[in-house]
Amino acid sequence: MSNIPETGRTSRVTIRLIAIQVLVMSLLLTLGGRLWYLQIRNGDEYQKEAKGNHVQQVVEPAVRGSILDSRGVPIADNETRLVVSASRTELMKQDDEGEAVLERLAKVLGMEAKTVKQKVRLCDAKTPQPCWNGSPYQPIPVTDDAKPKQALQIRERSEDFPGITAEPEAVRRYAAPYGANTAQALGYLSPVTDEEIEKAKDTDSPFLPSDEIGRSGLERTYDSKLRGSSGVTRYEVDNLGRVMGEAESEKARPGSNLVTSIDSRVQAVAETQLDQAMKNARKEFDKNTGRNYKADAGAVVVMENKTGRVVSMASNPEYDPNAWVGGISGKEYAKLTGKDSNYPLLNRSIQGLSAPGSIFKVISTSAAVKAGYPFNGNYECSSDYKVGGQVFKNYESKGYGDIGLGRALEVSCDTVFYRLAHKEWKKDGGNMPKKGARDHFYKTAHQFGLGEKTGIDLPNEVSGRVPDREWKKNYWEANKDAWCKQAEDGGDNPSYAEKIAKENCVSGMKMRAGDSINYSIGQGDTLVTPIQMATIYGALGNGGTLYDPTLGKAVISPDGKTVNEIEPTSHGKLPLTKKTLGQMDKALQGVATRGSAAWRFGEAGWPQDKIKIRAKTGTAEVAGKQTTSWLATYTDDFTVVMTISQGGTGSGASGPAVRNIYDAMYGVGEDGGIDKKKALLPKPQAALPKISKDGTIVPQRDKRPADDGAKRRVAEPPAESPETRREAQAARHEGERQQRQRDGARQARTTLQIAGGERR
């Protein structure tokens, strides 16, 4: 056997042994390569997965801070309610995508199955409200007003309700103390969206899918302070979710409380008075249009002169801010935002625009003084003023002969200001404006803060406009194409609108004589907000400082230890000397005692000797609409500005309401006597509410029955029909009934919580 080597093996076997060896080693090399691929190439990815695997987060939502009025009474706080929520992720796992469960749930809750299904569907471009706008991974509230019995049914039969929970949860409550709903100033909350979560991910205050954030009003401005931060407990868990240890955790920090300068009692009076004034206006016949006044919107601002702090801010139409709590229903949403809603979400105090009418004359007066016309000079107050072929009427006044600027303010003589404005216009070059025209009347308006936001601590304030040369030019640039086209369409036989269009097309960029004349009495293209006028009249009352209005007064940490007061800030000074200010002040006193507002104050039993009141009335023309009523007033401490759109004259429509607000604040009785005990706010509330040792803010509630002040002073319409009285009574009873219901629900809730505790 020569071919058998020493080892006793054939070459075939040797070759095969080598083959086995190569094969075996290549297997091990394959493993090594794969190991490298997993651990080195893709290691990071797996590390992330491993982390997500073993760390579970339990989120504890932070309690949102309260919003309190200046006396510590909560106007927005939290209450525990029984919230029934549906988890979409759980529902989608079911064969019928939760259809059957939702139908059962609707039956238990006594709701329509369709409503429940709509509430849990996700919002997208094609889905109208109601729908869920928050994160799809977050339990979606179906109702926050479940009865304890319903909640128990859901809990007891949890196998029938997979994905449905019924838990007591803290939800926002807008308590409306004394009946003051303060809706637009407070704003509202709604669930955070996925985009917002994504956007805020790497910031200091990231959102949780369960978060609700402030969408308007104070809730939005102070959102970051009120929200606090959710607690996250990170547990290391094993494969069965058993907790093995706690990883880095953060405790929930409740939000800070916001003390505002709002006085809910005054707010309640202001709201009632505004509403009543509008109701009364609707009974007034408007001779110009031949129908009753519409009084479709109104606003009133009460502000401290020396700080700019807003004591009350009412906007009408109103709405109930509690409508947003726990998700808004489709019907409710349409009511608030639909075409026929008249947009109650708008805060007309800061978002309502209209021409100021004669309350603008304080600016024209200042401009005239700045232009060199002496305050006490003689100016002709004729019954009209003609320029070219055009006649400008003395609207609110009549001819008074030669009078000073002060008297012109008192009697609101338009023609005095027409003349001065026209003169200045001519000085500035008229139709061929000089370079560097002084434009006193426009510059002064800017110096008074018009055309700019006041900087109030509320979102979405509008800036209004001063129709100066620059604005005219920009406006013309933007519209000339449309105007010129319209003029062309008119051809040889143009209509009135087409004639106007032609004029605008040719010379719309120019400041015309009529523009300046109209402008001087607050008519025309000027647009202002009530809050702007309040800062101006406040400045007249405080010696000339234009304060940024504020509602927030102090942010107080939940433990009560850190109190961050919000100091008043200003955005300028009135361009007036002390002397002129004094003269103007005196003139405005005259308005209240013997001028256009005298029949509401000086001649109507107002104790002017004890409480000096200054006033200026305004009635602004709006093309195609009824006149806007304006009344701007101030005392040594407070400014009150009211406006009613399509409401009539300044003193006529707004007069009684403003008077009633002052009466309530100062305790002025019908006979003109002052009852200090009844005075709600004779002096500004300077001190912050008391903070008890545990950090809670002690509310200083009025012992008098709620609404008393407001009810007593409701401006009685000239002839109140029995129907309205019955209505008011019915509304009051309804309010009381709801209150009783709420109390009942709270008691029942406590019972459920105890029952739940026992079951566990």
């Binding site: 056997m1 071919n3 058998i4 080892t7 006793g8 093996r9 054939t10 075939r12 076997v13 040797t14 095969r16 042994l17 083959a19 086995i20 060896q21 094969l23 075996v24 080693m25 297997l27 091990l28 394959t30 493993l31 090594g32 794969r34 190991l35 490298w36 997993l38 651990q39 080195i40 893709n42 290691g43 990815e45 797996y46 590390q47 997965e49 491993a50 982390k51 695997n53 073993h54 290391e236 868990v237 094993d238 494969n239 069965l240 093995m244």
Partner: protein, 399 residues
């Protein structure tokens, strides 16, 4: 018989003390493959640590004693090493005569598993209950007896010098001898062991120098068998699912794919140097099932990283490389076949075990040689090492 053999047995003319006999330059101990032994021992030490890490928190398994598995593992290891010593002491040649008996005993044990004496773990009736908490897995021993039995049959005529290669009849006998236990194990069903046994048979046939036709035929038969097993529905659902999850690991990560997915996360998250021994979150969190046995490699991957996992592969490589040397240097066909069978066993079992944790092989219940927890496997592996050592230490019979 040579004088040395007598000396080993203690009957030599020159009487030496036991110590001298063990330490003498030409002694068995001196001639053993220490590199292989060292590799195996280091693997076993690493294995002990990994088993401890994987089990010290599993209170539902370790009966409240964190060292429960560690102690048992070390006892198994000691017994295993002792069995290796015994195997070397007996010598593979002396064992050769006992092969028919050993084969018979292991086949009977395997059959007993199918009787009510057997215990079912993870859907596989592969364990024999010995009472007192002890179980034994006959399939592990069958790997040895099939290697030895086939080697005995195939090498008989060649080692006697009658033939150059085994004839067809002998090959047929040998295959029949292997087929019986394979069928029994398939009935358990212990698919992993069947796969290893098929690889062993293939390697044994290759090493025996049997005709190429047999090798190719066996491969075809294996493929046909796999198709038949599938077509006839002999597999349980869980086994089919394992394959499905292998084909698509993203498939139902909470169900079928859970095991492989978690294993891959554990290993992948280890990175270069790992999270540190006892620091693995996947391991302490018990996300990987069967982590002390079939998935022990995931502990290494997670806690020791690429360095630790690579070291295990390296040690296995060294061990198998030494085994290959022994196969090549052995002087009889019998020992060549035995060594080759052991090589195929170790290599394929390691590949399948680690491969399934890395997601390149379907999941099959097999322990990682030297490393995994499990007494029977440990005994069988160390007996196999004993066989290799014995082949190396026993000089050829003087011609």
């Amino acid at each position: 018989m040579s004088t040395r053999t007598f000396a080993l047995d203690g009957y030599g003319p020159r009487k030496r003390s036991a110590w001298n006999r063990l330490t003498a330059r030409d002694s068995v101990v001196w001639r053993m493959d220490w590199i292989m032994l060292l590799s195996g021992t280091v693997l076993a030490v690493i294995g002990s640590l990994l088993v401890y890490s994987a089990t010290r928190n599993r209170t539902e398994l370790n009966q409240g004693d964190p060292q429960y598995f560690l102690v048992r593992h070390i006892i198994s290891l000691i017994v295993g090493v002792a069995l290796m010593g015994a195997t070397v002491w007996l010598g593979h040649r002396r064992l050769r005569s006992a092969v028919p008996v050993l084969y018979g005993v292991t086949v009977l044990l395997a059959l007993a598993v199918l009787t009510p004496l057997g215990a079912t773990i993870n859907g596989s009736r592969a364990w024999l209950n010995l009472g007192g908490g002890f179980t034994v897995q006959p399939a592990e021993f069958i790997k040895i007896t099939v290697i030895l039995g086939m080697a005995m049959l195939l090498a008989a005529k060649v080692d006697a010098g009658d033939r150059e290669h085994p004839d067809h009849r002998t090959v047929l006998h040998a295959l029949g001898m292997a087929a019986l236990p394979i069928v029994i194990i398939l009935a358990m069903p212990d698919l992993g062991s069947v796969m290893v046994l098929v690889m062993i048979v293939l390697a044994v046939l290759l090493a025996s120098g049997a005709s190429n036709r047999w090798v190719i035929g066996l491969c075809l038969a294996g493929a046909l068998g796999a198709v038949l097993v599938w077509a006839l529905g002999l597999l349980d659902e869980y086994q089919i699912n394992r394959f499905a999850a292998f084909a698509n690991p993203a498939l139902d990560p909470a169900g079928v794919g859970y095991n492989t997915n978690q294993a891959r996360i554990a290993i992948g998250s280890g990175g270069l140097t790992g999270k540190g021994l006892f620091e693995g979150t996947q391991t302490t969190g018990q996300f990987v099932p069967e982590q002390q046995t079939d998935f022990v490699f995931t502990v290494a991957g997670e806690e020791l990283g690429f360095v630790g996992g690579g070291l295990i592969l390296l040690l296995l490589g060294v061990l198998i490389w030494r085994a290959c040397r022994i196969a090549r240097e052995s002087t009889s066909l019998y020992s060549t076949i035995v060594a080759s069978g052991v090589i195929a066993w170790f290599a394929f079992q390691a590949f399948e075990n680690i491969g399934m944790t890395l997601g390149i092989m379907p999941v099959a219940g097999l322990p990682l040689p030297f490393v995994s927890y499990g007494g029977t496997s440990m005994f069988a592996v160390w007996i196999a090492v004993g066989l290799l050592q014995s082949i190396r230490t026993q000089k050829p019979i003087a011609a």
